[in-house]
């Protein structure tokens, strides 16, 4: 082999080695670029998720304020107006010395109704029973006090897990919304509550003998609804990273599950 061939051989070798290095360097460069893009996308997704949660949070607050305002407007305002009318009427009667003790019964009834409505508003603003007795007791108490409904309860909490306050309020409101809708639309006579609290999650299952709805029904209602209840229910479920499941077979059930 002459010098020329050896030179060509060495040059070829250098090129071959450079080519191999180039392949590896290119791989590293493309991979790093891909990783950088992935990181940017991840950060963007994270920011979007935070924004979405914040939006849901604000929407929930707004819808609850609206509900309280509507409660005050629809329930308390007419009562106060009626009370005012009666008081004016009684004032005139008093001037004429025509007012009797029985005439005041209606006013007292109005005051009682106003107080009851105020309690509902107060309960919506701050669930005191929940704060004082915890989520499990609050839910059980709420269910046991439902009029004309036969309720049974199965509570399981083997590890005596306590639910954080913030989560508890959301769970409580979700439960209230579910139960209110159930009573309003499904006409149940009996409700059975299964409440299973484990170390990692909470499961609330309402089994009832009402008409019930399926997941598809719920999705359709959510899309069609402009009311505050379902919006609040959906928003809170998203906030707590929970899931809802509606079944009608073999028995009508509503299952809510969320991580703790």
């Amino acid at each position: 082999m002459d010098a020329e061939h050896i030179f060509a051989y060495i040059v070829g070798g250098t090129l071959a080695f450079s080519l191999l290095l180039f392949v590896i360097v290119m791989f590293v460069a493309i991979n790093n670029k891909k990783r950088k893009e992935e990181r940017t996308q991840y950060e963007l997704d994270l920011r979007n998720k935070e924004l979405r949660l914040l939006k849901i949070h604000i929407e929930t607050q707004e819808s609850e304020r609206e509900r309280i305002a509507r409660n005050l407007h629809d329930e308390v305002n007419p009562l106060i107006s009626s009370l005012k009318l009666h008081m004016s009427k009684h004032e005139k009667m008093l001037e004429r010395n025509e007012l009797k003790k029985d005439d005041l019964v209606k006013e007292r009834k109005y005051v009682d109704d106003i107080l009851q409505q105020m309690r509902i508003v107060e309960k919506n603003l701050s669930p005191r029973y929940l704060l004082r007795n915890g989520l499990n007791n609050a839910l059980i108490s709420f269910l046991l006090n439902l009029p004309d409904i036969k309720t049974t309860i199965n509570e399981v909490n083997p590890e005596q897990t306590s639910i954080p306050h913030e989560l508890g309020i959301n769970f409580y409101r979700i439960f209230l919304e579910l139960t209110t809708n159930l009573l309003r639309h499904d006409n149940p006579k009996t409700i059975h509550l299964d409440m299973i609290t484990s170390k990692n999650d909470l499961l609330i299952k309402l089994t009832h003998d009402g008409t019930g709805i399926t997941n598809d029904d719920f999705a359709n209602m959510s899309e069609a609804s402009t009311g505050l209840g379902l919006t609040s229910l959906k928003s809170r479920t998203t906030i707590v990273n929970g899931s809802l499941d509606f079944q009608i077979e073999p028995t009508a059930t509503i299952t809510f599950k969320a991580p703790l």
């Binding site: 050896i6 051989y9 071959a16 080695f17 080519l19 191999l20 290095l21 991979n31 790093n32």
Partner: protein, 220 residues
């Protein structure tokens, strides 16, 4: 190049191979156990083939039995390494084809065609070609995966790079100089020493990979 220089390079390579084997075997950082054993196996077989071929060269003036057997075991270990580290390669027909052809072919070369005492160049070509294909294929698979791999935590990247550099370069060395390497003593020595340098780079990449991933793990 003098023969003494060649011997120095040769011993350096042997020592480095042994060192790489110990480092890889006793490292526990981001290397799954199967890969660790297989890479250790590759380095150990490289170390042993160097030592035994040296002994054979002195005893019977023919080191090819050790080299030929080394290439056979190396092929098996590398196939196993890709089998366990790349799911797409594992499921491919090409790997099955490589397994079904390489083993019978190299056994035929070892015991029938060329025999143990003659250099099985065709087996070596076969080995280098399929290692280059697997190595490039693995890079391609990493790039087409849904998520990019974190190279700071992925030891097999270093293994794959080491295999690509070593086999890619030695393939070139042998491909164009088949007759010359085997029959021209001086050039044979030169090419062998270049191969030893490549071997040093190959071992250094294995060691660097272990150290690199270890540093990352100690920081996190």
């Amino acid at each position: 190049m003098s023969f003494d220089t060649y011997i120095i390079i040769h011993y350096s390579t042997v020592i480095l191979c042994g060192l790489a084997f110990i480092i890889v075997l006793f490292s526990n950082y981001h290397i799954d156990p199967i890969s660790r054993w297989l890479v250790s196996g590759i380095l150990l077989s490289s170390f042993l083939s160097d030592v035994i071929s040296n002994i054979l060269a002195k005893l019977i003036r023919n080191s090819y039995p050790a080299i030929n057997l080394y290439h056979f075991f190396l092929g098996v270990l590398i196939v196993a390494l890709y089998y366990f580290n790349d799911e797409k390669i594992r499921k491919s027909y090409l790997l099955k084809l490589i397994i079904l052809t390489f083993i019978p072919f190299s056994i035929y070369q070892l015991f029938v065609s060329h025999g143990l005492y003659e250099f099985n160049l065709e087996t070596y070509y076969f080995l280098t070609v399929f290692v280059i294909i697997l190595s490039l294929w693995h890079f391609k698979n990493l790039l087409t995966n849904e998520r990019a791999v974190d190279l700071k935590k992925y030891y097999f990247f270093w293994v794959n790079s080491a295999l690509l550099i070593y086999f890619g370069f030695t393939f070139y060395l042998y491909l164009f100089n088949k007759s010359v390497i085997l029959f021209e003593e001086e050039l044979h020595l030169l090419v062998s020493s270049i191969q030893l340098y490549t071997n040093i780079i190959y071992c250094l990449i294995f060691i660097t990979g272990v150290i690199w991933t270890r540093n990352i793990s100690s920081h996190t």
